[in-house]
């Protein structure tokens, strides 16, 4: 037990100087079943939003609806890129695919065995991230409350320097 505590304390000490996190190089799949790597979402031109959701998470659905509205109302000077990563396991994958087929302005991606979720240490959904054009994490927020999307868009504009 003592040795376990020492190891954990040493590992924590390594965290004191942590750089801005880059989106991990993890495989996802798109709606057509093709492999997409998370790092490829960074197009080196504009920032982007990654929202983690699952079909049985009511706050996640509310956040995605708010983001859909935000896309419709978006009047920014750069394109709004939103990726919704489903962490539904294989049981709910088809439902997640069917549910996301009619989304407007949001690109669905799928992480059925939670590889990206684990790589980002996400313990609860929804969690949303803003990454800059090179894939460096700029902002994150856990949970959703109606109105959170205003803060998210404000952070996205800051990230784009607009």
């Amino acid at each position: 037990m003592k040795r376990l505590a020492i190891i954990i304390a040493l590992l924590f000490s390594a965290l004191i100087r942590v750089d801005a996190q880059v989106i991990p190089d993890v495989k996802l799949s798109d709606a057509g079943g093709k492999t997409v790597t998370a790092v490829s979402l960074a197009d080196h031109k504009t920032p982007f939003v990654v929202s983690f959701w699952m079909t049985t998470c009511k706050p996640c659905m509310k956040e995605l609806e708010a983001l859909t509205d935000a896309v419709a109302d978006w009047e920014g000077s750069f394109p709004l890129r939103i990726y919704a990563v489903s962490v539904d396991d294989s049981r709910s994958l088809q439902r997640a695919m069917a549910m996301s087929r009619n989304w407007e302005g949001i690109t669905p991606l799928f992480d059925p065995n939670g590889d990206l979720r684990r790589a980002l240490n996400i313990s609860a959904v929804p969690q949303v991230f803003v990454y800059d054009k090179d894939g460096k994490q700029f902002y994150t927020h856990i949970g959703y409350r109606p109105g959170d999307e205003q803060e998210l868009l404000s952070q996205l504009r800051k990230c784009a320097g607009k």
Partner: protein
Amino acid sequence: MRRQMMPGRLLPIIFFLFLPVLLHSQDEASRGAVRGGLESNSAVYLDDAAIGPAPARWGSNNYLKLDWQRDSLSAGLQAEWYPQALAGYPSELKGAGLTGLYFDWQGRLVQLHAGSFFQQLGSGLLMRSWEDRDLGLNNCITGALASFHTAGRAFEAKAFGGFPKYGLWPSTGSAVAGLDLSLDLISAFAPESSHSLRLEGSVTDRIAREVEDGVSFLAHTAGFDLPVHTPGWSARMFYAWEGFSLKAEYVGKGRDFYAEQLPGAHEQYRLKPGNALLVEASAAVGPFSGSITLRRLENMASRIFNTTASPSIANTLNYLPSLCMQQTYLLAGLNPYVTYADGEAGLQGDLFWNFRRGTALGGRYGMRLHICGSWIEALPFALPDRETSHLAYRDINIDLERRWNRSFKTIFFVSIQENSPTHGNRKATNAQNVFVIDGLYKFSPIASLRIELQYLYSQELTRDWMAALAEFSLAPHWSITLSDMYNHGSTGVHYFNVGAAYSVSSFNISLQAGRNREGFVCSGGVCRWQPAFSGAVLRVQWSF
């Protein structure tokens, strides 16, 4: 007692393996990226005359995860600490342990991995190792994994082997090995095509290195020897084209130890092979999208080791979620269906209708309709009476969501459920109809109030229930929730709850206090039993 890798022997090894990583991290220019996650869930339980004595005085489940990555190298660990596990969690979770430790190298086409890893073959019917903290389940494998893929990923292969985790440490009494192949035919021969066709196959083996004395005795009494190897295989196909996708999977499982139920609550011990078939399709046409799933299971329970002890959710090697919709409203999820792995066949479908903004029915803000239904029958040979099977479960769920203006939105939800308490062995079923109105009103861009009113009508079990929930939110940090479930049809017990949550960035803290009913807690279609309790639960989550 099962033999497990001992922490005392492992910890020094782990420390010295991690030392280069720690020393390297002091070099600012090339220390790599460190990520982590911390989660703590603690509860205090109180005696409550309405539901009986507290299941324990207190409980606490704690997790720390750290990952380091530099270029193609990565390493990480997960530590868990259960001074006393929360009520309802597997009893194997006791004390502290390093439940995950890995080193990984990922080249352009090859990946080599040593230590713990999660792995899922196909939909997980054949094998799945995963973590679900709501269930207390983490059956990660400690061993080695190697994978290879061609440029463009038209062909992928992986092989792995190791010891699945049971409790806090890898169980050395049982090992698993597997090989998985995937061929993307369209990428290989017509990469520009809009079609996608993938063929996949897997083989696995579970190797029993130790057998419980009780299981050996029962097997000898029944006249057979337990096999050391339990092989399994699966063949899979995935096709997608624009808005359509089709997935089919067949799984075969070698002979395994089963306690077969007989009439009169007697058991007969046998070696039985298993199989499973899964077909899923989804499509989208205009404003409609939908999916349908067909699944048949026969003797598909796959355990890390065979035991005569009570079944534990921690002792699992594959993923058999219930086929029906996973409910999110309090009363709709009161009596969930749990998969009958010995033998069931079912069908489940979803239909989504998105009434777009600006259309006659969609109005200015759009409207969404979701209809979901399932029908599950037990297979007769898997039932104690061996009669023609009856209905095991069926439901139909309808939810209609409409935003009326910038401030007000409603959801109307109806769920009609019929559940057999004998998994279809007898004709009698319990029926319940659930009605929900869910409304959200925004006072300002950041302040909102959500109200849920629910009613459950039933003439069986505990008869009628009603529930109400109010949630006030102040974005982006605060929310306060009040709820009550009231069983006015039978027991007259109220289940009051009050909770508050605060979150900033990736930090979240919540406190909930009140009375909670006993029943199944389900996550991802897998359920564990939760005893009734009154008390307070504090949850802290932080990722960095």
